[in-house]
Amino acid sequence: MSNNNTRSHRAHKVIERMGKKLNRQMVGSLVACVHCGMCTDSCHYVLTNPGDPTYAPAYKADQIRKFFKRHYDWTGRVLPWWVKARSLYTDEDLEQLKDTVFGKCTNCRRCTVNCPMGVDYPTVNRMARGLLVSVGIMPEGVAVVSKDQWEIGNQMGVLKEDYLETLEWLSEELEGELEDPAAVIPIDKMDADVVYSINPREVKYDPRTISDAAKIFYSAGENWTMPSEGWDMTNFGLFSGDDDLGGAVARRLYDKVEELRGKKLVISECGHGYRSTRCEGQNWGKVDVGFEMESSVVTMLRYIKEGKIKVDKSRNTQPVTFHDSCNNARSCGMTEEPRELLSLVTTDFREMYPNRAENYCCTGGGGAMSMSEYTPRRLKSAKVKADQLAATGATVVVTSCHNCVDGLGDLIKHYKLNMQVTQLVNLVANALVVEKKLAVAVPVMPTEAAAPLAGVTILVADDEPDFVTFASTVLEDNGATVLKAYNGNEAFAIAHSGKPDLITLDISMPGKSGTEVFEELRNDPALKAIPVCIITGKPELRKLIYERAVLPPEGYIDKPASEEALLLNVRRILDHVHHRTSA
């Protein structure tokens, strides 16, 4: 207990710190609400929980407003009973607040655009998150990710050597594919026209987005580079409300671009990363930067318009729709560029309704993907988005946000929609007409090319016989020896007896679940070093990634998995492990 015996130390600190966070924008949103109800139908949580008023944005804001009024507004100090002012007293009060601000809002800001009074509830919500984080009250996943970004420098705890090895591997792949020694991913090149920053999810789980971007830069003849450090353009400070983290992360990236004397920072497709880096980071970090910043969507569009790259839209004929990331569209106004780009690289675009600034959240925003305790709520609220997607009749949903890729992927599986999620970079790369710039004699290594997985033993663990057959065939065709398991118990036993070089593991299996098998593998001294590639679309995966009782999996692939994705990820993981053990 603190100053007196009626208020906990943490509650006291939350109230005290609130005073430092109040600016005109914040106070305006705290005092202007007239409870007209216009925000209510804007919120995907309300629409999917119509009988529960605790999801209404005005109600949620009132949970913060009441202690603001009690301590910082004269009406609440003089007439608390009249304006419903109430202080915070106990740690239980703070836990309740945590449930509201982290568990019942994705900070999507759809309520804001529909508020006639200009109340920006998500900004207030973010402040309240930051107040709770400052006293150590936050979901476990938020703590894990924040600490990774503070100390490792990126949200997913990717170590520098792992990042560089992945880029090196992708660079070699690119050089081989394009048969040009100049087709490389340059690291820390000085005076580049473009410094390209990415989301750590790309390194860890979606390396194809990096190689696709590299192919586009190469084709455009761009003078570009990727930084060896300070490369993460995401910023968990936006989600956790921790302005200090927001500033530190943004400055690491800005400092690196300035150290490299880069002329322009291009930010890969990530909604919150774009908003944090381009729009918020300079305020959080209290710095001005001397270079331009641009979304890779704008960069790709510019390349096509300027004739730097040629595309053939007939390569993307499947019906596609576009999901606007909340941070890109509502907070940064980027709504037309992705649509223009889509019109240039696809043949069958179908608009989603509502769209642009009125589009619904993917329901995984605001850090929700890292908070597994709220997964059932998140997926329930995703019904709005699922209905919206289904109504388009598209089989592919495109989005310019990695977070949305995960959020949409989860809800597509949950609501059994026949759709895939992809990003503009993948579509542009697929439509790219690559002109080989240099004919050079490339040394041929027939054995390796014919059987890149020769000598490798892989355990495929999945209860779907069709998938086991598919994966086994692909892997065996590439030279691997495949062991097969059809349930969790069998997978664990065969891992012990067969000592594979890699395990592909389905999460949903009879007997021991894949999650249990995974944790047991990681805790078994004889098996913990075996890399694991999770193959699933189930939300339980988030727990493995974000709430780390054990080291996270080395990779994951969404089902249905393509031959290309399976091979790319398996080879990347094996190459990575090989580098590590031979170092």
Partner: protein
């Protein structure tokens, strides 16, 4: 400006980099009460150090705030890790607890025969100790310790980025003038 200060014949220095990848005899890890490595630097220790470190920690159980233990560093460049449970998130009596944690880290290192220790900016970052407070307490406490009958010969404070380095340098400069 030199980032090395000589105190009583011993070195106190500032370095920039990843503390878990430093060529130094030992480093301090700002540990949890349950000694689970967790994320952040804990991720790096688990990955670079291997299972040995976690195995030792499991046998040690849990600690109170300001307690410190030493383990090996497994396959890392350092030989030892000093796991120090410091105060966090604006808790009561934070500055005194932080000073005590730093002192206990220095003393525990010496009792273990260690001569070189690298510190992170203690408590700053995720645990929310303001960087200015961390710089002042970390540097002053180390300097005071080295001024006495210390067995340590070389103590570093390892900063992750320019923002941290700049602030520690300012504090370091005033330390030298004190």
């Amino acid at each position: 400006m030199a980032d090395i200060l000589e105190v009583n014949g011993r070195k106190l220095r500032l370095v920039k980099g990843d503390i878990t990848d430093l060529e130094f005899e030992s480093f301090v890890y700002y540990a949890r009460h349950d000694l689970a490595l967790g994320s952040g630097f804990g991720t790096a220790i688990a990955q670079r150090g291997g299972p040995e470190v976690q195995g030792e920690l499991k046998r040690l159980g849990s600690l109170q705030t300001t307690d410190v233990v030493v383990t090996s560093a497994g396959g890392m460049k350092a030989k030892y890790i000093i796991h120090a449970v410091g105060p966090r998130f604006q808790e009561e009596d934070l500055e005194n607890k932080l000073r005590t944690t730093i002192r206990n880290s220095l003393k525990t290192a010496e009792d273990s025969g260690i001569r070189q220790v690298a510190f992170p900016p203690m408590g700053a970052g995720f645990y929310g100790v303001p960087l200015e407070t961390s710089a002042k307490l970390t540097l002053e406490t180390i300097r005071d310790h080295l001024s006495g009958d210390a067995k340590l010969t070389d103590v570093a404070v390892c900063l992750l980025d320019d923002r941290e380095l700049k602030l520690f340098r300012e504090c370091f400069a005033s330390l030298g003038n004190a």
